[in-house]
């Protein structure tokens, strides 16, 4: 058991809760229709008879995942990509710049 400032965290309790919920879920599932077999007609995605596309054709590749998120954050990502130039000179200028900022930060706080 881990005591935090505001309470505690006990993974054993969490696991017990998880098992209880799992049992409840299983009971609910057992109350379902017993004539579902999971074979033949029942497995088809389209009951109306539309042909099912190939599995390979519908697998979403990594490049397309979160397209919407990236599209809506376009401004932010364009700025970020501009920073990540990959030129090693820029890496060093960032380092020197941040050192200078830290100098100002440390000495300015003293003045105030």
């Amino acid at each position: 058991m881990l005591r935090t400032t505001g309470g505690y965290w006990d993974p054993v309790l969490w696991i017990i809760a998880f098992i209880v919920v799992a049992i409840v879920a299983y009971i609910i599932r057992a109350m379902g229709r017993s004539d579902y077999s999971g074979k033949g007609e029942q497995r088809k995605p389209y009951i109306s008879g539309v042909e099912e596309p190939e599995k390979e054709a519908v697998h979403i590749r990594a490049g397309n995942i979160y397209w919407g998120f990236l599209e809506s954050m376009k401004g932010y990502y364009n700025a970020m990509m501009k920073i990540h130039t990959g030129i090693v000179n820029d890496y060093i200028s960032w380092f020197v710049g941040i050192s200078a900022l830290l100098f100002i930060f440390v000495f300015l706080v003293e003045v105030i």
Partner: protein
């Protein structure tokens, strides 16, 4: 005043080295810039080791009239400098051989073109 000159030199050398590393686009020139910064730091260490009137702590050929061991200099900064030089040699050798391999793979040493890894 005259004793401060090495310290000004150190600052100037560091700035020169950083200038070379930031604005020179050739990887070899960047390595040279790094070496200049390293020399500046070494110069700083050696300057710290200077004590007015002190002699090197070597017993052979010691000038007469030196009290032992008070008249001698504790050679810690020199030892640090030597270590730093040795490390500098290793870094420089590795850096140059990496530049050679980069030239073989990319056909150029321009840092603007050596950036397959980005974003």
């Amino acid at each position: 005043m005259i004793y401060s000159i090495p310290f000004y030199t150190v600052v100037i050398l560091i700035l020169v080295g950083l200038y070379a590393m930031i604005f020179k686009r050739n990887l070899i020139k960047m390595a040279i810039g790094l070496t200049i910064v390293e020399s500046a730091v070494n110069l700083f260490l050696v300057t710290l080791g200077y004590r007015e009137g002190g002699v090197a702590p070597i017993y052979t050929n010691l000038p007469s009239g030196i009290s032992i061991p008070e008249g001698m200099v504790l050679p810690v900064p020199q030892a640090l400098t030597l270590t730093s030089i040795v490390i500098g040699v290793a870094i420089l050798a590795l850096m140059l051989s990496l530049s050679m391999m980069i030239y073989r793979h990319y056909g150029t040493l321009d840092s603007r073109k050596v950036r397959r890894l980005k974003e």
